[in-house]
Symmetry: none
Subunit: 226 residues, 2 copies
């Protein structure tokens, strides 16, 4: 597997920095110092898997390069923007890019986005949105749950809570964690709310409801018995 990335930016120091980071992550990097050069390199080497394009470049701007590439290829494209102006964003979406990162940004963020895009493009974790445990099947995409083959009708919060439990099976979860995981960041509500939803979930899941164990003085844990 190649993992070849094309980076185009007219600031050579930035080019070097980005390149270093990505090489360290195991990517093969090709660089270009202007838009025309980027396009040339893209046509020359059709094994390129991803492109990172600065907007402001001599010869040809990033949007144009993006459109040209997109006309013939579906590879992930990341656009680096210097300004977060409305027109830029519109331009960006229209050109068919997958991600935007506005400067300045930390190398970590860039690397994280590159990794995520790469994964998505290569179906590594393909819409793997079905979880099955102990006879409970949770289908995130269809937003549907069955227990022992029988459809269980859950409300949104109940569904999200169950999903959170199943994704963190065998882990003891404090109410705080559950609030952070299922509710909003700054939710300041009563932790007893969780109890109520747990009660409903247990009831709806029937005998399988007690996969959700109470850990007294601590929280809950989803655990399928052996």
């Amino acid at each position: 597997m190649s993992k070849k990335i094309l980076i185009a930016d007219d600031e050579s120091r930035l080019l070097k920095l980005l390149s270093d980071y990505l090489v360290r992550e195991g990517y093969v990097v090709t660089t270009a110092i202007d838009g025309q050069a980027a396009l040339d390199k893209f046509y020359m080497d059709r094994s390129i898997d991803m492109a990172i394009l600065d907007v402001m470049m001599p010869e040809m701007d990033g949007y144009t390069v993006c459109r040209e590439i997109r006309a013939v290829s579906d590879i992930p494209i990341i656009i680096l923007t210097a300004k977060s102006e409305e027109s830029d964003v519109l331009n960006g979406f229209e050109c068919g890019a997958d991600e935007f990162i506005s400067k300045p940004f930390s190398p970590k963020i860039l690397v994280a986005k590159v990794n995520a895009l790469y994964k998505r493009a290569h179906g590594d974790s393909e819409e793997n949105q079905k979880i099955e445990m102990g006879g409970i099947v949770l289908d995130k995409k269809a937003h549907q749950v069955t227990a022992g083959g029988i459809n269980v009708n859950l409300s949104v919060k109940e569904f999200e809570l169950l999903a959170y439990f199943m994704e963190n099976a065998d882990i003891a979860l404090s109410r705080d964690k559950i609030l952070n995981g299922v509710w909003e960041y700054d939710y300041f509500g009563d932790a007893r709310t969780i109890d109520t939803h747990v009660k409903k979930l247990r009831a709806k899941l029937g005998k399988r409801g007690y996969y959700i164990k109470t850990i007294w003085g601590m929280g809950y844990k989803f655990e399928v018995p052996l």
Copy 2:
């Protein structure tokens, strides 16, 4: 655990606002009104766990402060930028910051990012925390204990007490130390409380219960026989 954050910004209103939010989240906040002051405070108090730096500050800008700190420390650093400063990519990239947040931003987002960074920096704290000794397996993540492969059901205090013992195996622990380690800092209760819990622990651990040895006139020690 300290959770100490240094915030540097020359706008005192913003400083106060951020500080309030973070204090509410349980952080200890130190503030500085210019870059030099920030650096001074950082050097003065080396227990600071995270820094939030505005770019535009008198005396010394945020990037410089960031670089200075980064030269001697790996703490997470968040840089606050204004839109007009966004073009300063190289500075941003090179200074080694972990996150950039451009003004204006919602305090909610800042708090969320601070929390995320804090977690990441502290090794996710509960990844794979399994201790095994003499056939007793204590899994902090799952909040579960097995002795000889058989599940042992412990209450919270019992669990914490066992964890404390196992983390301090082969060390003689006075009741005072145990109280400080497992109970609240200024717990004012009867030392006999520990005895009661030790008894229950021993009983629940079966024959392995006597790994918890009594040191007469001193306290207890967890020790696995050879």
